[in-house]
């Protein structure tokens, strides 16, 4: 997949954009329909370490400082958070939380924050990026998952074959963009004209409410969450 994200960025912004790739990270600005857009993200199935999270957070803070309301495109391509002793020693969770709080702050301050999964998003890496956007889409052929099926079979002690059978029937269980669309974790797939898709996502009216539960309910992938959250919010005893 190496180099493929460059084609996506060129499709969206032409060849003259200022998005710079440094190792696994992408940061910079581009022009779209006459306005500036900040792009932050990762490429080539990067792992999100404490240093990566802070670098992306800096770019989001800069966008907020530089231009109120400037749209932010988050390119999501990761193999999860970095599994290392050093990252844990530095509290990677705190650094990732900081990144997500910056993205959340941008949303609330009127920046439209759009996520785009390119190739792969895994668990904590998806929470660090895609789950903190207003709307998160995926490119065709990409995958979102919590854990690879073989590892999941080991941990849950459910035989792989049985797990795959169950995954096919229940979108809460197995990996895949389609399943994450059904549970409301992804808005949809961007195919065809990327510019038109991005334009639509930027102009869609949103009121800041978290729509993911109701999406999951209407798409039949997460059928009880919306109702139960509403009951608890109302203080219902049963």
């Amino acid at each position: 997949m190496s180099g493929a994200i460059e084609r996506v960025l060129a499709d969206l912004f032409g060849d003259g954009h200022g998005v710079v790739r440094d190792g696994g990270t992408l940061t910079g600005v581009a022009r779209f329909d006459g306005r500036t857009v900040t792009v932050v993200g990762t490429a080539d199935r990067a792992v999100i370490g404490a240093d990566v999270a802070l670098k992306l957070a800096r770019a989001v803070l800069d966008a907020m400082r530089d231009e109120p309301g400037r749209p932010i495109l988050v390119i999501v391509d990761n193999a999860g958070h970095r599994l290392s002793r050093r990252d844990e020693l530095m509290a990677n969770n705190g650094c990732i939380a900081h990144l997500t709080r910056c993205l959340d702050a941008a949303r609330r301050r009127g920046h439209r924050v759009i996520g785009l999964v390119h190739d792969l998003a895994v668990s904590g890496g998806f929470m660090a990026t895609g789950l903190s956007t207003d709307l998160c889409f995926a490119l065709p052929g990409s995958e979102v998952r919590v854990m690879a099926p073989a590892a999941m079979a080991r941990v849950t002690k459910i035989p792989l074959e049985r797990l795959e059978e169950l995954s096919a029937a229940n979108p809460v269980l197995g990996p895949g963009v389609e399943n994450f669309i059904r549970v409301g974790g992804l808005e949809g797939v961007w195919d065809g004209d990327l510019k038109a898709r991005f334009r639509e996502a930027l102009s869609r009216p949103l009121d800041g409410a978290d729509m993911r539960r109701s999406l999951g309910e209407s798409r039949g992938g997460r059928t009880v969450a919306a109702r139960i959250a509403a009951k608890v919010r109302a203080g219902a005893s049963s």
Binding site: A50, L89, N92, R108, G185, S237
Partner: protein, 298 residues
Amino acid sequence: MRVARHSFYEATARKRIDGLLDAGSFREFCGPAARIVSPHLPALGMPVAFDDGVVVGEGTIDGRPVLVAAQEGGFMGGAVGEVHGAKITGLLERALDVKPDAAILLLDTGGVRLHEANAGLVAMGEIQRAALSARHAGVPVIVAIGGKNGCYGGMSIVARSCDWIVASEEGRLSISGPEVIETVEGIEEFDAQDRALVWRTMGAKHRRLIGEIDALVADDVEAFRTAILGFVGRPRPLDLDALEAEHEMLSRRLERFWDCADGRDVWARLGVNDPASVPALDAAGFNGLVDALSGGRP
């Protein structure tokens, strides 16, 4: 009143709530009588719990109205599934309506419940957003960690999105479990059987020393109550200046300690004279050390 210490670590979720809130004040939402269970576990041949492993409701602490959620670490390791997550999200959204003096989350969890993985992961994104919404509405969200499972996975990100974190010496706060790191990266990267290493890397004392948590207490429900009460009604700022200050704090941490291989190296660089003695200090002795170093989150 309370003469003997009551271990927070050993207590169930309900006992923790009983010990924290004023006697008789707790009212549970969607409690076990409602039998709201996971719709996914039966298909996998797994047992269900009538509260799906989390107790949510409202009550008072020292007369002040609060919302509280307590994860039951004894059910599936406190892992977050669809119902479990929705209960916590709903509770935090209630904070927008009733404006309590605090929302308190007693976390005891390994993270996502793999048996309903996708629902659990998206639910954690929702919990986090609801926690931040409560904060933006001026309601402080206070986290307590001190159970058997620590606070791992996506919930470790949620915890650090809240205002305050109180933990006992037994508390651990990290995104990856030691076993996961060892399984994927090898025993040279992390020996999960080395409990002392786990505590030096992920334990509450290390987290307090580097400024990830705000109060370290003994493993005592009353000590948790006192520390939590100190944060009730005290929201932290969440504006751009606060985010910049957090960024500065985290960047400085990575600059100062990125080459450290062990928690002891970090503590030595922080000015701790005898890093090897830190694990054995009791809460009072440790807090004396923290005061002397005057560390902490900005």
